[in-house]
Amino acid sequence: MFYSGFKMLKEKIGSLKDLSKNNQFSRWIHDHDILVYKNGDKIEAVSNICPHFGGPIGYHDIKIVNQKPVFTCLWHNLQFCINSGECTTHSNLVLRKYNIEVEDKDIFVYIN
């Protein structure tokens, strides 16, 4: 996959089994901390590094706040909409969403 001329690496990040217990897991791959989670029937991935101070976004269940599904940073309660990656607590902070693919029972992520 290419991102505006930049080649993206396709890396295995886990398997469907990793999602079975908590509906989410996170892994560091090539210095990207990536949170993989179930959003309804879909499997999605987002950066697990809060742009505020660097805390983890995952480790909490998804909450519905103001009709938006959000993850909450463990350190300082910043909340991020999982659909857009935008911070709903503080403007101008956005989490990167990663493209993923599921092949058989494995989950792959595209990173630069």
Partner: protein, 221 residues
């Protein structure tokens, strides 16, 4: 009534630079998240680059309820932080002194001196007090460890507060492999509650019942 102090000294060596530890200690909001079993709320009344005056709602050992404390935190010098705790209509007074000693490898030792004011006739409780303080020290140290390790990890990758990491934010940016920068803290640490509320009261409340129920810190932060 004649008064004296119960005293206790605890210390630990870390692999972290002094400024990172000061960042951790000066981040008064994190106690609600990281130390969620002991705190549910913090209200920062005033803060500048040397002083923080706050209220905390803390659950102490063997107490089934939260105790509101008033806390004054002072950076006495670049290697020392003094904290004055008052509670229960100022009947309880405790002073803690944190000494930061960084070696040539940028690894810092922290020593905490605790002085709890008590009526002289219960001075005999000092061994028990010391035992409780040592346990508290170890518990808090371990609770903070994932946060410190993660903070240092992202810092080494180029993390900037309120920005994140450039090669993660923008896939077109190539990661800088030779990034080697010293950790530097600038007080006061910007508080998200201050920015959001823009009011005089800066209350930070725990909004998640538990903070690590899915395994924070395992295995790679």
């Amino acid at each position: 009534m004649s008064k004296t102090f119960l005293k206790s000294v605890s210390s630990a060596n870390s692999k972290f630079p002094k400024d990172l530890l000061i960042w951790n200690y000066w981040d008064h909001e994190h106690i609600v998240g990281t130390h969620f079993e002991h705190y549910k709320k913090v209200n920062i009344l005033y803060e500048d680059n040397k002083v923080c005056f706050s209220e905390r709602w803390a659950k102490l050992a063997f107490m089934p309820f939260y105790l509101k404390t008033t806390d004054l935190c002072v950076m006495t010098n670049e290697n020392q932080m003094d904290v004055f705790h008052y509670a229960f209509f100022n009947l309880i007074f405790c002073k803690q002194i944190f000494i930061f000693e960084e070696n040539a490898n940028k690894e810092c030792k922290v020593t905490r001196h605790t002085h709890l004011q008590i009526p002289r006739f219960i001075k005999f409780l000092e061994p028990l007090f010391d035992k409780i303080m040592q346990k508290w020290w170890i518990d808090v140290w371990e609770e903070d460890m994932p946060m410190r390790e993660r903070r240092l990890k992202v810092w080494k990758l180029g993390f900037q507060d309120f920005k994140g990491i450039n090669y993660i934010n923008n896939p077109k940016v190539v990661k800088n492999k030779s990034l080697n920068r010293n950790y530097k803290v600038n007080l006061p640490i910007p508080k998200i509650t201050h920015i959001k509320n823009k009011s005089s009261e800066k209350t930070f409340i725990r909004i998640i019942k538990k903070s690590k129920h899915i395994g924070y810190g395992l295995p790679d932060l």
